[in-house]
Symmetry: C2
Subunit: 319 residues, 2 copies
């Protein structure tokens, strides 16, 4: 008998990763194609199809495809569409319909943070939990909210935008057109901005004074902090302070058992978790104090977005 | 055949109202007893039992009791307990067990705002909606969050505390021990505090300059605003500004179709709804703009808390 697998597809700004994943969250094979977001969606799916088929041919003797899950920017679970994704010149694209031309299996779409949340629930740190929030700390801040074992999609499919709750209405300019959104502070880009602000406001020596904004990566801030760099350490402290405050607000809405941090900045581990936890506890309404865990994702960083997308459709099939 | 009814009990700081309600949300008969929160819970339930039985005797020829729903401060749906309610000297009380001594029917407990949310879903402005938030603007600010047609209780039964999300970490002292919670601005008490602040900061003439803080009621501010009183109008404007900003944050978490305002301050209608809506729209992440309705509850003010409590158990029975 063949082993059942689903196909997870993670549409990124630069590359699109995809892979076949079994029901235990084990990736059997994976690959990627360049997204080439300046070209049309038709062009993208016409290139994706043979790449997926080639990969499937390598395993089809032993495995059977049961469904396809897609994580994509602005992916909408209800409509199956991707709606005006930033960085992709796609406009509004019916992703489910596009894929149905090539594959006759159940297909589901959502955004990458929501897919990550389902990935954590089925395969990762949230296994067995029914109430949790996943925060992805990448270029921006994405979030997926799970209530009673189900992802919250809301009335329009776009629930879970904690990155765009407001920390300071007079604060940093956000890509969304407003000011002071959480993601302008708590994300890989946010901590870079914080380093620049600290370099401006203090005279502390720092190796980060030799790095331009464009060259600066959150990993460099992490490594500097490990070396004892004051600016880098303060940057993590400040990022945690802002993130913890806004997480306290989110806890007051859905009262989760845990908040799982995922993505590049989360790799800093305790450097980001400790100040976030401290600030969250300081700002929590008393009934929630000392109840909510903040934990680092235990999904493998490399293909976790593919696992999340595969989990999305596994969750449909077994749900 | 007898008509089925449930008993709704609303435990308030001063009085406890209760009534028998049919499946269409019609109150058949209702009554109340003084809560006398300085006495024990045993004392309370020993007085409540004969009062309920007397009322039921009047209708028992034509009606059959199917269940009991209780809305009480700090009521926990999961445990059936009321845990250290403010204003009541009860400590932790197992309300379900207390009532089981007297009544052999299904019994459920939650807090008053959650009960109101279920009341709105079954009988009120949220009929037919699956994604909405109810905000009760009374002495404090309570909230009940509904996702996918179900009330969000969270990991511990205490979800839905939007009144204790933080507007200004350096702001007004809150009864919960922190500073700047939303309910210190947006509630009957909050708007009184705002009037005092405006009286301090401006020289505008106002009839409210003749009223002490303790004598001031939100209804008087409402009536003054209707007469064109500048201070009163500014107070509603400011209350809406703060409420709208924090509602925008809540929308980013669960993406509701509507937010329903309920309670004393909500009776001001457009005076509170219009500035709240304007501020919320200004602060919403773009994908949510012009989607979320803010509407006034259409449940009858007098016994709506009893209807909510009755709805809680109807929802269990028919769910």
């Amino acid at each position: 008998m063949k082993t059942e697998v689903t196909l997870g597809i993670d549409v990124g700004g630069t590359n699109t990763a995809f892979g076949f994943v079994n029901i235990n969250g084990k990736s059997i094979v994976d690959s990627f194609i360049p997204t080439e977001g300046n070209k049309s969606a038709n062009n993208f799916f016409a290139r994706l199809h043979p790449a997926v088929t080639n990969l499937y041919d390598r395993i089809s003797a032993g495995f059977e495809l049961k469904g396809i899950g897609v994580g994509a920017p602005n992916g909408n679970y209800y409509t199956g569409k991707v709606e005006n994704p930033p960085n992709l010149q796609w406009g509004v694209v019916d992703v489910v319909q596009m894929l149905k031309k090539y594959f006759d299996v159940p297909i589901a779409v959502t955004n990458d943070a929501n897919a990550s949340a389902i990935g954590e629930m089925l395969f990762g740190s949230a296994k067995g939990m029914k109430e949790f929030i996943v925060i992805t700390l990448g270029t921006g801040l994405g979030s997926g909210v799970v209530v009673d074992g189900k992802l919250v999609y809301g009335s329009d499919g776009f629930a879970g935008e904690i990155g765009h709750t407001v920390y300071d209405p007079n604060g940093r300019q956000c890509g969304c057109g407003r000011k002071g959104c959480l993601e302008t502070y708590a994300s890989a880009t946010g901590i870079k901005r914080t380093v620049m602000e600290l370099l401006a406001n203090s005279n502390d020596e720092s190796t980060l004074r030799d790095v331009s904004f464009n060259k600066l990566e959150s990993k460099m801030i992490f490594e500097a902090a490990l070396q004892g760099d004051k600016i880098a350490k303060k940057a993590f402290e400040y990022t945690g302070k802002v993130l913890g405050l806004k997480l306290a607000d989110a806890v007051a809405v859905t009262s989760p058992e845990a908040i799982i941090l995922f993505g590049g900045l989360a790799l800093a581990g305790d450097l980001i978790i400790e100040p976030t936890k401290r600030s969250m506890e300081e700002n929590l309404f008393h009934v929630f104090k000392n109840k909510v865990k903040i934990i680092q994702s235990n999904l493998p960083e490399g293909n976790s977005a593919v696992l999340g997308a595969a989990a999305l459709i596994w969750n449909e099939i077994i749900g």
